[in-house]
């Protein structure tokens, strides 16, 4: 069983306050194991993004610790090494609009991983092929549909060979007919054994790929359940309440 190993992400009693006295995280603890797919659900403002962003230190935590594959987010020296292990996919894609699709996937490989142009391009084209965007390699991001852009963003993150992938509502900005093509790529990654932390309310993804679901509310974890049980058989009243709103 996967859970027999050491966790690859250890989130220990994490607190995060924003300047306006908002307590975004209030004592969150969670272990995530290699190859595991953890889904985080919860109402807007409950701290899901903040938790995800704390894992690769886009947000600095105020108390507690997060250890990613032995590297702590509270140790400044580790931060670029840590970020190399963690890929991130955003709700708004955040592709670089001044670069072609191919260049988007090549850029960080060249300047961060220091790969040769040839090596980086071969890798980029292989990944674009995998997410089904090979034909658009020389197009520019703004010429693509949302679903295509998000798949490029996934390829861009994968090109750095991360051990962990974080997804912050990857399908929330998409038109309904494009959600499936992105989820398919994510399910495929899950099958290949990628460790994934996914903030999303896509029931279908929970059913086909999640190992565990976590419900957050007001900066805390309210309930955890294996597979899609959180959706199908919630225990806490708060979870039932929340699900009745989104399902």
């Amino acid at each position: 069983m996967k859970t027999a190993n050491e966790p690859i992400i250890q989130i220990r009693n994490v607190y995060k306050y924003f300047k306006n006295d908002i307590q975004a995280l209030r004592g969150v603890s969670l272990d995530i194991f290699p190859g595991e797919v953890v889904m985080i659900i919860g109402p807007s403002g409950s701290g899901k993004s903040t938790l995800l962003r704390s894992i690769n230190r886009l947000e600095k935590i105020d108390d507690g610790d997060i250890i990613v594959d032995g590297l702590s987010v509270t140790h400044h020296e580790d931060i670029n090494a840590l970020r190399l292990e963690v890929g991130m996919v955003f709700q708004q894609f955040n592709l670089f609009p001044h670069l072609s699709v191919l260049e988007n996937v090549v850029l960080a490989q060249r300047i961060v991983r220091k790969r040769s142009a040839e090596e980086a391009e071969t890798k980029a084209l292989a990944l674009l092929d995998k997410v089904g965007i090979y034909e658009k390699a020389s197009a520019y991001p703004l010429q693509l549909s949302g679903g295509q852009q998000q798949r490029v963003a996934i390829a861009r993150a994968l090109a750095m060979d991360p051990k962990i992938m974080l997804f912050d509502e990857p399908t929330s900005a998409l038109d309904p007919e494009m959600i499936q093509e992105v989820l398919e790529v994510m399910v495929q990654m899950a099958k290949e054994g990628m460790t994934m932390v996914v903030v999303s309310h896509e029931m279908g993804f929970a059913r086909s790929a999640a190992d565990r679901c976590v419900l957050m509310d007001s900066g805390r974890i309210v309930e955890e359940a294996p597979r899609d049980e959180l959706f199908t058989n919630p225990k806490e009243e708060r979870t039932k309440q929340f699900l009745s709103k989104i399902l």
Binding site: N56, L58, N80, R83, L84, V86, G87, M88, F90, Q92, N94, L95, F96, P97, H98, S100, L107, A108, I111, V112, R113, L125, Y134, E135, A137, S138, A139, Y140, L142, Q143, A153, R156, A157, M160
Partner: protein, 278 residues
């Protein structure tokens, strides 16, 4: 694989072709070049129909045109470099760097350019001489300001303060997600700035930079008060020996107009070339 790569190459070429100006844009460009042609023809006509005084004026002030162009271009290059550095300072998280560049920007923007030029040309050398006297240091005591040098430094330092704000606005106009995406790929802040933020900011501020260049070209006429023999000063010299104010200043005005119109056209071309692909 190789077949796919070939497809890729032809798509790249197709992309380049798509980048050429569309029919509409092209005719707009032509119309504006037409205005340039009209002004140019006007000057030619004046010179050939009335060689006295217009040909005389033109040959008298031609070295002034060179000086004006020289001052404008070298000032522009310095302004870009200094403005970029200070613009980065204005978005820096480092309190000292931010404070220093902010004070610079606020102070410089609160003093008229003409006064700044007078400070650089008259006050600055006087200070150097005094310091030289106090320290008994000969090279300082005999310091003489080079007018063109002082003019270029003075305008650059002034324009860079405005350029810094343009650069800052350009950087801040980008979505924060751009920096976050770059950082989460493991880039350092400097790498993200260089490869992701600045190339995009540059495209956004390109039209403003073009306008700054034209303002600079016009404001370069202020250097005539600090003994630089630019187009304006040469015009004044010609007028004071010939007493032909109408003809002199008509010619000078047309020459400036020609230069600013050409600059505007070039700026537009550069701007179109750097537009984001949509």
């Amino acid at each position: 694989m190789s077949n796919k790569t070939k497809n890729d190459a032809s798509e790249l070429i197709a992309g380049k072709i798509a980048k050429l100006p569309q029919a509409g844009e092209l005719s707009a460009i032509d119309a504006w070049w037409g205005l340039v042609a009209v002004v140019f023809l006007g000057i030619i006509l004046l010179v050939s129909l009335y060689p006295d005084p217009y040909a005389r004026i033109l040959s008298f002030v031609q070295d002034g045109v060179i000086v004006t162009i020289l001052v404008t271009i070298s000032t522009f290059l310095l302004t870009m470099v200094l403005g970029l550095i200070c613009g980065l300072g204005r978005v820096s998280k480092n309190k000292f760097v931010y404070g220093l560049t902010s004070v610079y920007v606020e102070v410089i923007r609160g003093i008229p350019l003409l006064v700044q030029l007078l400070v650089w040309y008259f006050a600055f050398p006087a200070i150097v001489v005094r310091i030289g006297a106090a320290l008994n240091f000969r090279p300082f005591q005999q310091y003489l300001a080079n007018p063109i040098m002082m003019a270029i430094i003075g305008i650059s330092i002034c324009y860079a303060a405005y350029m810094a704000e343009i650069v800052r606005a350009g950087i801040e106009s980008l979505p924060v997600g751009q920096m976050e995406a770059a950082r989460s790929l493991g880039m350092t802040k400097a790498q993200a700035m260089r490869t992701v933020i600045l190339p995009q900011a540059y495209r956004t501020i390109m039209p403003t930079i073009g306008n700054e260049f034209i303002s600079l070209l016009k404001d370069s006429s202020l250097v005539s008060v600090v003994a630089v023999a630019d187009l304006t000063r040469r015009g004044r010299e010609f007028m004071s020996t010939t007493f032909m104010p109408i003809e002199t200043w008509l010619m000078i005005a047309l020459l400036y107009l020609l230069m600013t119109l050409i600059s505007a056209r070039i700026a537009k071309i550069v701007e179109n070339k750097t537009k984001l692909e949509k």
